[in-house]
Symmetry: C2
């Protein structure tokens, strides 16, 4: 859908690695284990210098091709030649939720397919395997003329990107995305093989996967079996996979060098001091208010009973996870020592630029960004969209009809040809839609629109049609037919005629928002272009000063991180790097076996059978963030030793800066996964298949 | 304390009675059972016309003198000659919380004094019995000269009110408050007898008092024993009370005429359409964000364990209660049919005024209010205070030292002589202060200050002293000695010298805020004076048009409301007026006996003994709102038939308008109180004492 900002926030687990003090004089130049590196620009010198290891090209290629991206927001890896894919339970939970009903709650109670025939087809997953990366910076930038306004430049750049993607798709049949790196400093073409027949193989109970719940989230030590197995199919059969990870059954050991290959969602380390202040004082407080609003809304809905609890659980988890992550992030930005250090680095950089006649013009970038932030502030409350699944569908259908009459390059980016298959898969998903929840969310979004724009705003007056948000939402949801996939299909195929003839109240609502939506979209596109041009200069400046040890901010594309398995000290306590399966039971007792510290029955039944000393969770210094959830952790030998699922509370400012002082990435140990499959879940065949 | 806006919100249960349509052409002119009437201006004609009943002066005097105000925010009544006071458990919960420790949780587990010797003295309750009301409008207004600026007028009026109060206090020894009525249209002097030796006699378990928790709050049908008994003492002995309520053991019956005598906290029915819009689009969304922020903060704190749950429970209840109430209120304001009707009434009134040469100048009031709202908008984020118990103490001490050097009339209103005893009682309360909670709240308040003012604001920079909000709060709370009552006493007695010599980090913080606090305070005072002058004109207009059937907005002073015991229909279902004790068990089963629908053990033990058909809760059409919690409900005979504890969800917009369509006041039936004392709580002696 076009508009699921909260969904996006929700579906990515914000994990990463942080700092209390920034020491490197030039930001974005990595130090120690810092960095989310491009697979086509790996930090070989740094790895050699710090860890005495140099990955070979085949080693890198194998890891890249074994890595999997969940397009819904997460990472994973191939772990067998027969298409087994290992990811986090919380990456899978969106799908588990869609597969569940009041009778079968796979999210809560887990699932195990007795045989491949029993593996359940998922409604709308798209898994991506990165095949190649190509630098297309010159081609993209060639489309921009000096004389263009930012509006013109934004359109020209977008058209160029769409045509490069279309050309690549036509030539290779692969999903082709031009990715903006370094905030606009580089453009790379990423080609992916897509898997869309994805089936559920095994999931543990939520009580094991998310043991300790919201309370333990982002904490360490941890005891979570946050894993789920899927299998990709081709032509109705398990896909034959050439590149998959071998298992290291001993898994990660203290002090080991490990690598993380995954898709960090977003970092903003390139941000100027002004941009950081804007986040701190304007954007993030607003996001926090929105998250708290939605958290309370879903909590209240869940109070009504067990079925409501089930229906809201996935959303609520996503919201709580984001709220906790943003709380940590904002706390980091509100620490004057961070902003002071950022300011100092920037002052030093600017002074070095000014002293160099060739580089001095780059300093203009900082003013451009400042100007853009001023305009962003004005746009902040002007969004003309509503966060609701059904409204998102209506909006997509409405926009798509007009967009499709334009040439590929002129369309809004989400409607370009190369994205059409992915868009339709989501639009026509059979995932259940709950009318009571839609009613609640639409009513809340209409109320939120009043908060943002005031009740006298013409858009608001039109949207409410003289009714209260609650009455209006009830009327719209009762009247819409978009819950039926067949109706969505009909309209999506009927184009502008179907839209103009539609009397569906949600389509009518989306139509009444359309011109304002486009105005704000276009204004935002222009600001983004202005910032891309500015950050391209900032990047140039950093390359000039920092050499090639500069990695780009995260963009939900495949990156390589590395670090050591390493404990840490906090508030005077030594936190060991690893926990054990047996520790989970002690943790349960410590919390009096009260919710959310209740291990599933399966665990208590299996307690005497399992090896309690098996490593369960561990921490390492690798530089990761939300989107990295489900990333494989591999050894020097390229064998799997664990799977990332979280970052500790100290790591929550990784969006803006990294250190390896006390902040850590948190992973499930592969030995814990294998032992629990064998001893708890009666699935030795899956443990045996992994790595083969 | 000076600054507990959230506490104030929290301690008043927002209950009231509402509408879907406004029919009366002139707002504030009552229709049907509408109105929170002054005891010195009761609606005798209306009562006679609708209910064929005219209360006699002795009837009114007896009810007034039997009514009790909890100065902490609630209502109550004398129910025995030996000083027994009946109020709500949720009015008492603040005190139960203060009396509780990790070992004795009276809030959760209830309390019963074996004998009067075992009744527990409460740390800081002040109970008020209204003795007399005197109109002092002319005296107050005489202090204002035409030539004065609003700043001068605000000061002159305040000085006059302080001197009237002081004079009355000196003459009578009674607590004397000049109350602003009709938003500034009238000034009445209220004299109260104070009771400050208040002891806990009996409280049920929170599970019985707040059965159904946040989920059932503001819902109906209900099953809550939301009552608690205190006893007032004088000279170390149970006070001898002349005016107390008799019990009607049969209690309220369907269709009965009933009266409610209590202290509604605040309504804003006089507000102009502009003022309503300001609330809807500006002030309330901000309050909602604050409430959600604090709710999540306290929820997260409570996750840490049972003791944290206990420490946070009272705050959390207050916040959740307010959040739910404000949600309903805002939903009412966001209904275009309400604002349209309000606008239409106003247009009609203004047109009638314009047609009358004598009344026409009154229309200026609307412009004055509009101008004031513009300035209010600017002040909104400029508050220079922090919502924390300890900070409130530091602020009070700091301000008091300077204020006490001024003459009584020139001081900030909370520091006037006539309020000193009450202020000191709160300031020097032995109620426990939990450092972990204070640390958390202070850190959150410092972070909130950044949200409001931006991190570059000089006040913020000074407050943080280069540290993060969390670090700074930890340092301040570790360093302050204000947790000790003796230290507060020492400083409060040491005046400006003690303040200027103090190195206490909280005092230093409050001092660094002082000038900004005073600037905002003074600006607010001026706006309030401007609005008082304007609303005095609005009132004059309404009296001119609506005659004497005009009641003033609620001001947390004693009011008389009336109505019928009456069921209602909602979403096609008929809701009977009453529930029964036995119904509580069915309600528990219906919710699978899951938290918060778990009746205490005492109830299950007594189940076979009690009369299951005893009426338990009931609804009536009386016009009430937050602050009315604990108000006695009496019959035509002046006998007690119930006690108000809530309003239904449909009643939540009573702040702004009333109807008797589906909105209801919710009360505990007196028969349910008496039966539970006898059959569940082994306290027949208390049931016997009530009414004697």
């Amino acid at each position: 859908m076009n508009t699921q900002p909260l969904g996006l926030i929700g579906s990515q687990k914000w994990i990463g690695v942080v700092t209390l003090l920034l020491v490197s004089a030039v930001p974005m130049t990595s130090s120690g284990d810092e960095g989310m590196w491009l697979f086509n620009a790996t930090p070989t010198k740094q790895l050699q210098a710090i860890h005495g290891f140099e990955p070979s090209q085949p080693w890198l290629d194998h890891l890249m091709l074994s890595s999997v991206r969940f397009n819904s927001g997460g990472s994973a890896s191939f772990v067998s030649s027969q298409g087994l894919v290992l990811t986090n339970h919380h990456v899978a939970s969106d799908t588990l939720y869609k597969l569940s009903t009041a009778e079968h709650n796979y999210n809560e109670n887990g699932f195990l397919a007795a045989s491949t025939a029993d593996e359940i087809k998922t409604p709308d997953l798209e898994l991506n395997q990165l095949i190649s990366i190509e630098d297309v910076t010159e081609r993209v930038n060639a489309s921009i003329k000096e004389s263009m306004t930012v509006q013109e430049a934004a359109k020209a750049r977008q058209a160029k990107m769409a045509s490069i993607e279309k050309e690549s798709l036509d030539a290779t049949g692969l999903r082709s995305d031009v990715v903006t790196l370094y905030g606009g400093g580089r453009y790379h073409l990423y080609r992916y093989k897509k898997y869309t027949d994805v089936r559920l193989v095994w999931a543990p109970e939520a009580g094991a996967a998310f043991f300790g719940g919201d309370a333990d989230n982002f904490e360490y030590p941890r005891f979570c079996l946050d894993v789920t197995l899927f299998r990709v199919y081709e032509n109705g059969k398990p896909a034959v996979i050439e590149h998959f990870l071998k298992m290291d059954p001993k898994g990660a050991r203290d002090q080991d060098l490990v690598f993380v290959s995954g898709n960090p969602g977003r970092t903003r380390r390139i941000f100027t001091h002004d941009a950081i202040e804007y986040q701190r004082d304007v954007a993030m407080p607003r996001t926090m208010n929105l998250l708290r609003r939605k958290e309370i809304l879903m909590q209240q809905y869940a109070l009504a009973g067990p079925e409501q609890q089930r229906r809201s659980r996935d959303d609520l988890f996503g919201i709580q996870n984001s709220r906790k992550a943003y709380t940590g992030m904002l706390a980091g930005l509100q620490d004057p020592s961070f902003t002071a250090s950022k300011k100092q680095q920037e002052t030093e950089l600017l002074s070095r630029l000014s002293q160099d006649r060739k580089l001095a013009p780059l300093t203009k970038a900082w003013e451009q960004i400042r100007a853009s932030l001023e305009k962003r502030r004005e746009l902040l409350t002007q969004g003309a969209t509503l966060r609701s699944r059904l409204y998102g569908i209506a909006e997509t259908l409405t926009l798509m009809a007009s967009e499709d009459r334009k040439s590929n390059g002129d369309r809004l980016r989400e409607f370009r040809d190369s994205n059409r298959e992915s868009l339709l898969q989501e639009l026509l998903s059979e995932a259940p839609i709950y009318e009571d929840l839609e009613r609640l969310q639409l009513a809340d979004e209409l109320a939120r629109l009043i908060d943002d724009r005031g009740a006298n705003d013409p858009l608001v007056i039109a949207a409410l049609a003289g009714k209260s948000p609650k009455q209006r939402a009830a009327e719209i949801i009762a009247g819409t037919k978009l819950t039926a996939v067949s109706e969505r299909k009909r309209i999506s195929e009927g184009g502008t005629q179907a839209i103009s003839e539609s009397k569906d109240p949600l389509i009518l609502l989306a139509k009444s928002f359309e011109s304002e939506y486009r105005r704000v979209h276009e204004a935002t596109d222009s600001l983004e272009e202005q910032e891309r041009q500015a950050y391209a200069k900032v990047t140039e400046a950093k390359f000039a000063v920092g050499g090639d040890s500069v990695y780009p901010d995260a963009t939900f594309t495949l990156r390589l991180a590395f670090g050591k398995v390493l404990g840490y000290e906090t508030e005077g306590k030594k936190i060991p790097a690893q926990t054990t399966l047996g520790g989970a039971f002690s943790h349960e007792s410590l919390h009096l076996e009260k919710d959310p510290w209740v291990l599933p029955e399966s665990w208590h039944t299996a307690k005497s059978k399992m090896n309690a000393d098996t490593p369960f969770n561990f921490v390492c210094t690798a530089d990761i963030i939300g989107g990295n959830s489900g990333s494989p952790v591999v050894s020097r030998d390229g064998a799997m030793v664990g799977i990332i699922f979280d970052g500790n509370i100290e790591s929550l400012t990784a969006d803006f800066y990294y250190t390896d002082n006390v902040s850590r990435a948190v992973a499930v140990h592969i030995a814990g996964v294998l032992e629990s499959l064998r001893s708890i879940y009666n699935a030795p065949h899956l443990a045996d298949e992994m790595g083969r």
